[in-house]
Amino acid sequence: MSALRQATAIARLEAAEVLRSRWLWFCLGVYLLLSSIFVLVGLRESSVLGFTGMGRVLLSFSHALVLLLPLLGLTASGQVVNRSRDDGSLELWFSHPVTRTAYFSAVSLVRLLTLVLPLVVLMPLLGLVGRFAFGQAVPWGFVLRTLGVSTALLAASVAAGLMVSTYVRNQAKALMVLLLLWALGVALLDFALLGMMLQWQIRPLLVFALAALNPVQDARLALLAGAEPELGQLGPVGFFLANRLGPGGLLALGLGWPLLLASTCWLLTLQRFRKGDLV
């Protein structure tokens, strides 16, 4: 039996499980809430305040998104493998002809699509609502940029979550590691980094490097770079990176680094999953 057929069978099971657990609907609800705020409040306000108001709206929206997406990505994937190990699912499915690569690929893809697809459907849809219901000019470039950056950030979060769920067997410990990862991601933004620099007298270049290595910061900067941001919005570290890299560079960093991180984490985890104990 081909690996593709095996992966398809496992993907169907996983997709059904995701629907049963209502993860998809939860994501849809969260995105709907965010997008509604963006369209209903943001666009209407921007029409009153003009383009300068739009920057503020985008700033708030980007911040909400970059804080939320890693949390969703990590929690959606962070207990997939260890829970399946604990509840006997892995023992059952690997008593049938399924390769470890096919299983892991199928589960990873379904978990990522569960988070990305609702966003891909909802954002353009609500953009259209804004356009036709409120007659506002929708910044499609920003919508597209948001979708790209969000997908990259989600991919990095899902890969990190899968890594935790594969390496940490205990589900409670895994949850703690996931929360720690999320806290690190959202803490190591501009102001926390500046605080660190001042507190421990860290060299500025190290601070900028830390900021650039944080996919959450990269995603945030990539989103803000599309809206002619100011120092106050980007923060000092972000402003430095924006000056060095330019808007195109920031977008490349916001897309490329999380994707590179996702690929590296995923391949390392796959290697572990293939060689390690399943039960």
Binding site: L92, S95, K275, G276
Partner: protein, 293 residues
Amino acid sequence: MRVEIHGLTKRFGGVRALAEVDLTLESGTRTALIGPNGSGKSTLTRVLMGMLAYEGTVALDGLDPLVDRPSLASRIAYVPQIAPRLGAPVREIVTAVAALRCLAPEAIAAPCRALELDLAAVADRPFRNLSGGMRQKLLIALALASRPALLVLDEPTASLDPRARQNFFDLVEALGERPTVILCSHRLEEIRHLVDSVVVLNEGRVRFRGPANEYLRGNAGGRLEILTAGPGPESWLAENGFQRGASGWWARGLRNGERIELLRELTTRFGPELRDVVVRDIETLNPNEPRQT
């Protein structure tokens, strides 16, 4: 399928679950793995299923179960000791297994019928909501449907009633090309019906290997219950390891030979004072210190 194991060691952190196990099972043989809890039975079966990394050499028809799993998996079937807690409906699981094993749904329905499990009636019920017996029947049906060359059974009838157990024995007997069977069990009934040789594991090592009949003759036993009419034999019973229960005296884990000797002595000494003697065979192999027969 021929099973060859040389120097197999498996460690979980600092705990050595299997230690230098050497074992060869010829194709078509039926072997019971017995031993106390934690002796390494389930670990050994999971190594054979390619679920655990290990040290040493394991070959199934010359192939490594870990490295060559894609080639081997369709020829191996497994019934786990504990049914998974899956929320998926039965229909979903059956469809997935049929797809993975390239089986027609009827191939799974047939063993279900033989085990008196009405697949249509439970199709929409979540697997974890089935009774223990139903779950076990379904797992057995999923394993037997593929006509495997190696059938690994980890306490397969623990949740089955006597009639379902007999149906299961009949199903295994009826398997066409005789597969190699490896059975983890403490049940005399399973060992009597299913296997022709016994391997005893203790603390991860092989302690005994021999024909099933001879092993059972020497090591099988049961519980002995004595109801006394008067106080006469009570001190004797206490001295001989019996315990006082609500309705009389009892001792369990006795080998057949021991039971016969005890009964002979008891009836000779205290015959008139005994009201009743009950001999039970319940999960009472003595695998800790097997007797060479």
